[in-house]
């Protein structure tokens, strides 16, 4: 009989469920999180316009990650905690 040393990360993982989905966009505050890929702004400007025109969102908050290669800083995530929904927005 042989004894093995567990080579894996053995910390227990919390199961997190996804946040509840919005029932609609009308009257909601929606954040667009630009992850800083080239020309993201142009794409998101148009998306913001469509959210307002077609979906009657109350307001659109724009935030930008310093770089797409790293997780968003904690302070940015805290600012996003107050909106109804976030669209994390890629572009290329």
């Amino acid at each position: 009989m042989s004894t093995l040393v567990n080579p894996l990360d053995e910390r227990s993982r919390d199961q997190q469920s996804a946040a509840p989905r919005l029932d609609g966009l009308e009257g909601k505050t929606i954040a667009l999180l630009d992850i800083s890929k080239p020309r993201g702004r142009e794409f998101l400007d148009r998306l913001e316009q469509l959210l307002k025109e077609r979906y009657a969102v109350a307001s659109v908050v724009r935030e930008t990650k310093p770089t797409y290669t790293k997780p968003a800083p904690a302070a940015l995530l805290q600012r996003l905690a107050y909106v109804d929904g976030v669209i994390e927005a890629l572009a290329d």
């Binding site: 009989m1 042989s2 093995l4 040393v5 080579p7 990360d9 290669t69 790293k70």
Partner: protein, 540 residues
């Protein structure tokens, strides 16, 4: 916040054991370092082991390092026990002293010198400040000066802290919910690995694959006996944490490292290299989180330089990027296994590479010092000739450059420059770096023509570009950023410069003595907004 030059207000606070402590008494006859901390602030927890080291260096004057906890007795005791702190820790439960010193953030360091004057006041974690505080305190007490914060110990050079509790209390009306488990950015110890007893009929090799110990090639089963042999070759305790492996930040204890190194096939003596490789991979400048999660194919290339390479049997000559030596193949593979098993990035889950890269089996080379006419990589990076180092570079695949016809150094470099221009994407400039692997025959041609390593780098920088005519094809990658590019002339033709700076081109000599094949390896996104190449000394 009180600043240097201010007089440090006297105060009394209870120590954790309930006895009284007074600043005026503690500051008599020598310098005193007072550090305000919160027990759940990751930056404060990062700072505590350095304060401990300073206190130990001060010997009989170790009590001249003092922490003021802004939290309750229970949380403070847990921190003191977790870090085995022996210097005085005071409780500022009512935050009176915090209000009077008024730091905006913690950790907040106040060095109190002669006459009760504040000589330094600083918030956050800064290795440079910790070392200068240590120098001031040690030298003023006539003790030998020593470095308390090594630059290459796996911790960042600096880290901002958290808002001071006295400001937080004002904002939140003092009410606080049950605090979550504190986060340690660089814990000293972590749990021992569990043991798995295999049933008599179980094939250990198949068990390892079934249990997910390797996402790819079968591994050597990490039996307790094999792991013990690797642990016996290191001076560290098995539960000592070398780093937290991104992106899931699993603790790489010496024991977990040994188990993965066994699986990769490492000999016990390779641990001397595997440990600094883990430190480098966990260095936040390297940004392993991004390297592992990107759809790009880059993966860490390990470059070993210095006398340890030969001593441990790392190949640097013929076939260096292939399967030529146990040291190269197994050390590179050990890192890949740890990236999956401790870092948590498995192909198709967090590791989202579209194509991946053959280097993901193992990507580890040594520099061919014997055939190099130039200064070795580690010396170029400021290490002593007798030192050895590992350098990690987030590399994509290898592009070979055949140049058997050129008789001059410049001719060889023009051919290499043409390949360098292709790195990342042809029309994309300034975003990435590259490693140029110069083969011994090309190195000899260059050296005979008087090229030093710095001349090679400069020549490649000046001659690597993308012709402006390539930008007639609008709407292709790289064209959208052309206003950021620098226009230069190469052989009279207008080009955009490929690299921003000569330092983005790294040069090593490797490969066999026959065959005029050099190589170019591109990077993932480079610099502080991507992955920065990091170098760690090979030492325990």
């Amino acid at each position: 916040m009180l600043a240097s030059g201010d007089s440090a207000p006297d105060f009394s606070l209870p120590r954790l054991d309930g006895t009284d402590w007074r600043l005026e008494d503690a500051a008599a006859g020598g310098p005193l370092l007072v550090t305000f901390i919160e027990t759940d602030c990751p930056t404060c927890r990062l700072t505590v082991p350095y304060l401990k080291r300073l206190s130990e260096a001060l010997g009989a004057d170790g009590h001249r390092v003092v922490a003021v906890s802004q939290d309750g007795r229970r949380e403070t005791r847990a921190l003191v026990e977790a870090y085995d702190v022996a210097f005085p820790v005071l409780l500022d439960g009512e935050l009176h002293v915090s209000r009077s010193y008024d730091p905006p953030a913690v950790p907040a360091l106040f060095l109190v010198g002669e006459g009760g004057r504040i000589e330094l006041s600083e918030v956050g974690f800064h290795k440079e400040d910790l070392n200068s505080v240590a120098e001031t305190m040690l030298s003023s007490l006539g003790l030998p000066v020593q470095t308390v914060a090594e630059l290459n110990d796996g911790a960042p050079l600096m880290k901002p802290g958290c808002g001071s509790r006295h400001l937080e209390a004002a904002l939140t009306d003092g009410g606080s919910a049950e605090s979550p488990e504190p986060i340690d950015l660089l814990p000293e110890r972590s749990a021992r690995a569990s043991r798995i007893e295999l049933a008599e009929h179980e094939d250990p090799f198949e068990y390892c694959m079934k249990a997910g110990f390797s996402p790819f090639l079968p591994v050597v089963p990490p039996t307790a006996q094999r792991v013990e042999a690797l642990l016996a070759a290191t001076p560290h305790a098995p539960d000592r944490v070398i780093g937290l492996v991104p992106p899931c930040y699993g603790p790489a204890t010496v024991e977990k490292i040994a188990a993965n190194a066994v699986m990769a096939g490492c000999k016990p003596e390779y641990m001397e290299v595997v440990i600094p490789v883990v430190r480098a991979a966990c260095d936040e400048r390297f940004n392993l989180h991004g390297v592992q999660a990107t759809t790009n194919s880059a993966t860490p290339l390990i470059m070993v330089s210095g006398p340890a390479a030969e001593r441990l049997g790392f190949a640097s000559g013929a076939g260096v990027f292939g399967n030529v030596a146990r040291a190269n193949s197994t050390v590179g593979r050990a890192l890949q296994l740890m990236m999956a098993n401790l870092g948590g990035a498995r192909p198709g889950e967090i590791d989202m590479a579209s194509l991946g890269n053959p280097g993901r089996f193992s990507y580890c080379v040594a520099e061919n010092h014997e055939q190099s006419p130039w200064q070795p990589l580690h010396e170029e990076l400021g290490f002593a000739p007798e030192d050895s180092t590992v350098t990690l570079f987030a590399a994509t695949g290898l592009m070979e450059v055949s140049e058997h016809t050129a008789r001059t150094g410049a001719g060889v470099l023009r051919t290499i420059a043409a390949t360098l221009a292709m790195v990342w994407s042809w029309r994309s400039c300034g975003r990435v770096e590259a490693v140029v692997v110069v083969c011994p025959e090309h190195a000899a041609t260059l050296s005979a023509d008087g090229f030093r390593k710095s001349d090679v780098r400069e020549f490649l920088f000046e001659h690597t570009g993308v012709p402006l005519r390539a930008y007639d094809h609008q709407g292709t990658e790289g064209t959208q950023l052309r206003e950021l590019y620098e226009e230069i002339r190469i052989d009279g033709e207008p080009h955009y410069r490929k690299f921003k700076d000569p330092s983005q081109i790294r040069i090593i000599v490797a490969g066999g003595t026959a065959g005029k094949f050099s190589a170019v390896l591109g990077s993932w996104l480079a610099g502080p907004k991507g992955s920065q190449s990091v170098t760690y000394p090979i030492k325990w």
